[in-house]
Symmetry: C2
Subunit: 416 residues, 2 copies
């Protein structure tokens, strides 16, 4: 690092600041704006204080996957330059649930569930973030105390027409699907988080752009300096088309075991390799470009590039040792041809089901009783792990390999 | 009255209840629904309790005119049957003002101004309402304490699309005029007033129909019995076309002096006589119909009917003696032809202006100096009252008569 450390922030020269802006905007979908970010960096430097960088998190889904990690690793870059991350858990709306009763995906959470989710977040984010430069906060802290008058003042900052410009609202309005009036309050509440925390920079996925810009205007309207907005691309899941998400089952969780992470990565379509290398690893851009070129010209086998990607990903979350072991395991199975390259694919939904039933559905067993017998004889493996109980619930994931003995194989493809 | 008095409410027979429904719906624009009102009356009777009847009032405009009186006199009918009126002063929104800063008509009011307005209301409404059966309440009492979670739960009861069905929102949305998100919260706050007060019947002008129906649905959604809605027609002002309102200057205030009330009534267009007799007096419907018929056939001179209307109105607010005196004064001036029947009309805006300037604008004086001289000589009268100071501010009202000596006359017509 160039520069000297002053009160926790690197004091840097102008040209070094330009380099920082370049670094921070690497891989970003949008930065509003480079000039504002440079000015914020400069002000922080002058005042000897870190920038306050925010990420908002859903209180209901504490499983962090590589899609989230794209954003969280960007936060780490800010921390490495001495800045402070506010990891905001949106427990306020979580506690209310969906008062319209329409959405099953927003159940009401109690205090204990929210605390448990927060602990799960902590266990995961500190694989990427520096705990000393991370503040985990709950937005109920400032939102629960807002009274009706405060809500009215907040809501007066935005118009109905502009709210209806947001993609999802526009679509639902056009298609005459109901939008609850309360839903117009959520983007405002999220914006108020930035006001309450005096945020300098907000980072998130491109699906948050509207909310972030609303926040900027709200801050301006209140006489505050508008936050810099940095959005990251949304990562496609293992199926290669849909956004990575837990509910679609097309994800790699950052808390998954090294072998599982490695194996799932190996099930990626070749077309996504360059994008994954760019967004999910630390491999320098030049190298990524040269590999992509190598695959285009046929100089490189995509399978080798994919193995490199898998090793990079496992290394990030489990270290180089675990990555080597996972790779060795994969190579052993693969080179020994224990796992055939072209095996039957079975299309399944994402929900869990008993192993015996799964075996029948995949056609590997003729009946439930045959399936139970084969499991109890120890001949059944799921992703290379021997199954012990025929009624054990198995949640199909994309690329999951099910095997009976040495000859019967099937690979799961998740239906969309 | 038929029936006996039990705990303050008349205990009545079924046929008497049907008569009450007929009486209460007399003159109404809409009653939702007669059957529900009858059921509420029946329940109140059974439980030996009065119905809770609500009127919402604007905290910024405490001048009550005949247009408001149409609604307030309907409340009196409920009181005469033993029921209880909740006169709700909307001080909550008054205290917030217009946070968007767009509307000059909704300034922020402080505690003292609201208390003063409330006293002014009391002085006026008890000319019509029974103080023993009237509760004057302020909605900040329950709205100020509502927290953000409560607001979200409330807002979840209604959709954006349905909100945009309200006439004024629909028009502004269509014409691309901004609607603040906070404006969607006001009808919900108003509905919450009815919930907090456990209202049985809400009475108001037809411009409130949307809000009242929203309230019914909100109550139903909360498992409460929906309020009966009774809307009264909006009274046209002295100009004969626009709704009576203070800001248009086309009103007769119920606190105005008898002579002024009488004179303003005499300036009404003949076409409004039947409507005014129906909505602003106690003259039985049969009699009103017969007079209307008399005017159509030429049997009655509209001027005589108008004098009867004027006497009825003054009697309601100042008693029979004051009405007779006002009439005598009018007849004297009129029969002595001091005021010519066809005098020049001058079109003016509603804002106040110095008397001397008014005289020049009406053409009664050639210059400001001539106007000043004529006032100081005591030759100028406004509505029959001698003017003392040339720089005194005069607020033009519709039908106001300005006179210099015995020969120069002008009548004000307010521009719309």
């Amino acid at each position: 690092m160039h520069g000297i450390y002053v009160k926790g922030v690197l004091s840097v020269t102008g040209s070094e600041r330009a380099r920082q802006v370049e670094l921070l905007s690497r891989g970003a979908a949008e930065l509003i704006s480079p000039a504002e970010l440079e000015a914020k960096l400069s002000a922080a430097d002058r005042e000897g204080r870190p920038l306050r960088v925010k990420l908002g998190a859903d209180p209901t889904a504490p499983d962090i996957h590589l899609g989230h990690a794209v954003v969280i690793r960007k936060l780490r870059q800010f921390q490495d330059l001495g800045h402070e991350v506010y990891f905001v858990i949106g427990d306020f709306t979580g506690r209310i649930g969906d008062p319209s009763g329409r959405s099953a995906t927003r159940p009401q959470l109690d205090q204990a569930a929210i605390a448990a989710n927060a602990r799960t977040y902590e266990q995961q984010i500190y694989k990427m973030l520096d705990p000393d430069r991370t503040k985990l906060v709950f937005n109920s802290q400032w939102l629960a105390g807002l009274d009706f008058a405060g809500v009215i003042r907040l809501a007066a900052k935005w118009t109905v027409a502009r709210m209806l410009e947001r993609d999802d609202f526009a679509r639902r309005f056009r298609e005459q699907q109901p939008i609850g009036v309360h839903e117009f309050l959520y983007p405002l509440a999220q914006a108020y988080d930035s006001v309450a925390l005096r945020i300098d920079v907000e980072v998130g996925g491109t699906d948050q752009t509207y909310n972030f810009i609303l926040t900027r205007e709200l801050q301006r309207d209140m006489g505050l300096s508008p936050q810099v907005v940095l959005t990251m691309p949304l990562l496609e899941g293992l199926d290669g088309t849909e956004k990575m998400s837990k509910s679609l089952g097309n994800y790699i969780g950052i808390a998954e075991a090294p072998e599982q992470m490695y194996g799932k990565t190996m099930s990626l379509p070749d077309a996504l390799l360059e994008r994954y290398l760019t967004l999910t690893t630390e491999v320098p851009q030049g190298e990524v470009a040269s590999w992509a070129e190598g695959m285009r010209t046929g100089r490189l086998n995509p399978r080798d590039v994919k193995m490199r990607l898998a090793r990079e990903i496992v290394t990030l979350y489990h270290g180089a040792g675990a990555a080597s072991a996972a790779e060795a395991g994969f190579v052993r199975v693969f080179s020994e041809r224990l796992q055939p390259e072209d095996m039957a694919e079975v299309i399944l939904g994402p929900g869990p089901l008993p192993l015996a039933k799964l075996l029948v559905m995949t056609g590997l067993a003729a009946s439930a009783s045959e399936a139970r017998r084969m499991v109890s004889q120890g001949g059944v493996k799921v992703d290379g792990v021997r199954a012990a109980a025929p009624m054990e619930a198995v949640t199909p994931t994309h690329g999951m390999v099910i095997q009976i003995g040495r000859r019967k194989w099937a690979r799961v493809r998740l239906e969309r």
